[in-house]
Symmetry: C2
Subunit: 472 residues, 2 copies
Amino acid sequence: MPDTKSEDMTESTSRISEVMAAISGRIAGRALAPGDRLPSIRRFAAAMGVSPSTVVEAYDRLAAEGLIRAQRGSGFYVSQIALPPLKLTEAETPKARAVDPFWVSRQSLDADAAMLKPGCGWLPADWMPDAALRRAMRSLAKSDGDLLSYYGSTRGSSFLRRLLLGRLTEEGISAAPEHLMLTSTGTQALDLIGRFLLRPGDTVLVDDPCYFNFQALLKAHQVTVVGVPYTPSGPDIAAFKTVLAAERPRLYVTNSAIHNPTGATLSPQVAHRLLNAAAGNETIIVEDDIFADFEPEPSTRLAALDGLDRVIRIGSFSKTLSASARCGYIAARPDWVEGLVDLQIATNFGGPSPISSEIIAHMLAGGGYRKHMEELRRKLVRARREVAERLFRLGITPWLQPRGGFNLWCRLPEGLDSGEVAQAALAEGLVLAPGNVFSVSQSATGFMRFNVAHMLEPRVYQVLADALKRTA
Amino acid sequence: MPDTKSEDMTESTSRISEVMAAISGRIAGRALAPGDRLPSIRRFAAAMGVSPSTVVEAYDRLAAEGLIRAQRGSGFYVSQIALPPLKLTEAETPKARAVDPFWVSRQSLDADAAMLKPGCGWLPADWMPDAALRRAMRSLAKSDGDLLSYYGSTRGSSFLRRLLLGRLTEEGISAAPEHLMLTSTGTQALDLIGRFLLRPGDTVLVDDPCYFNFQALLKAHQVTVVGVPYTPSGPDIAAFKTVLAAERPRLYVTNSAIHNPTGATLSPQVAHRLLNAAAGNETIIVEDDIFADFEPEPSTRLAALDGLDRVIRIGSFSKTLSASARCGYIAARPDWVEGLVDLQIATNFGGPSPISSEIIAHMLAGGGYRKHMEELRRKLVRARREVAERLFRLGITPWLQPRGGFNLWCRLPEGLDSGEVAQAALAEGLVLAPGNVFSVSQSATGFMRFNVAHMLEPRVYQVLADALKRTA
């Protein structure tokens, strides 16, 4: 902000504006959603370093503009404006709000080297195929000049697309080039699909629990998010049919292969019934199989049963190859891919960095990938077993034993609130992923997701034990 | 689509569905906007390989669903649905629709090596700092392991951000780390800002003419786009004030430094008046300075005069360093950056590929960058002069002589339609950029943007001369 020499009155006017801008900025950025309660006047005045009367004036002006509304005896709330009400939890405590999807993302992504991160959703650097990545970069540094300077074609690296088509064929999905496009990241793949198919006010169905960033993303699309309880063999089919009939969701977004966070695997029976129920309701399914290569052997996939008619497949290699050379993909009906490519040109002028997609392609084609994943899966079998034993001594038990992957979805000892445990642990430099950030219905207070690859240091269990004691 | 053995009736039902899906796909993908006329029944039947009666049935069903409406004697049109009417041109001919922003992007990005591309918006690979790029990649291939595997922090590479803050300081903008974040690309920077600040139905002001992809992007945001005529010293100030008062745009999006496509430079006087007019209207300004390093000396910048209060600065290095290691940035008020970072986490789980941003940082810090740009500017002075002479012989004259950059915005001989010229040239393997793809008001029928770096082969002028003759 520029320095200004000004009268007291002008200064307080600009301070009122600052407070108004801070609130409207949070509303615009979805940190405050329609129906949310604003910070109390006293608290916000302290946070912004202004007088309470400045905040009162600012809140009054925002109310006059219709952005917020005053509720007598209760405080100020964000207006519904033109947006439909989000389904918020019934028992929404301030604690639950504090520990939300963004809190976990920010802690994990911005954690310094000293912090331990059993709550993060990726493998440590020394578990990743480091040598292959460097080899790919050196190889690319010697390659044809055009590749290193150009935006790349609208669908992305033909080398990588050929490899991906081969993988789809192995799954039994007969896909042609017009079914496939590359995207910046796996998350952006889902985001593009959301912009292509959703309108504000639509309903989207997710698993409960599900990957927390699905919820953050869908919130940005201003849709209503509803959940279907997840069982060890996939979504609860009776509940699935009920929610389909009641809510008529436009999309159902799910993880196949190894479910995040539970580690469960879709059974063939559930997959088949799910597809039929969705078809009857005209619900489009987005199947994210980002953990597919962690499976010991392939499980039933929705896109394979459906054949890219009603199912859209998305994925990326950030969990197995590199999160630093980011690249995702979408496999779908050709007419949708056409529209998605246009949308990607308009909003990003292309897909992934061509350098990133070529690095990924080199690593996939390199021959060492299968061997690396075999070794990684063996390592993870041992790690899951070891970590489960150590957690058991703290009274923490897995909901199920996953077939693969690095996550254990666990129950804490009776009566503990995983959000409180996570906050206590953060104070001691441990980033945890409490259950409710994964649960649309906020029904996972007693659960936590542990990344076993980040739990091999004794200090993790010391801090965790402390946090459990302090919040008991 | 899976193979099905089915009765004739079921087959024609599925063909009707295919036609319906193709149309709704185009509507969803914004290739057909509310109010647009659908392809004629006969033409679409031929394109899809079905009978006209199938298309009739499909259109009737879409009309019954309310997605399109029939206008007696005129054809079918896309319904307004819940969207406000876009300001479309009065004299919208089918030709103007065919040659639209997506047409140019697709042709340029997907052109094979045999095609000449004077219409594209980037330099040929051999004009780019190739050696420095390879050096950066080799250096990174030797670097610390974490960098090559992780998602990176939420604001992006601290190395690159430090360099960018230094550049902002040189411009006279006192920016601190909280004012800055990295994004996937320069286009995605604008897209994020749009999602953060715009609602469907808002109005956004752009220059006329302006970078064509601004229009495609804003269309995806479902806002009303209006234009202000651009003069050799910036937007026409009287017209700017008028349109601000009449339309009350939420945003004004513009190129500073070297304007795309005209090559004009903002004068200090226009910059100052523009900022005051915008402030009075509470219009937020997005200043894209992607061509800044092409200037012989720095010109007046809106973010420098304003100090990141009401102006948001965006940019990238895809024009000067590499379009293959993609990375953009946003400099703005800290509370907006906070919200934008959250939105980027939700929709992309981070910003640029960390590998890309480190490559860009290495190249910027490398010491060779300034020298490379000095040489590039000299090369372009010669190329602009040479190309202007050759175009003059064809009766094509530049609207102004730019101070820098690779674009010449030129008038074709009287009476010619640049869209027709572009289509004639495409048939002979030459990709051109006709004026109306840059103009919201479609008032640039007689103009064309030429990229001088792609115009040094004699064949370009032969094909161009032919195209001029054939469309005269």
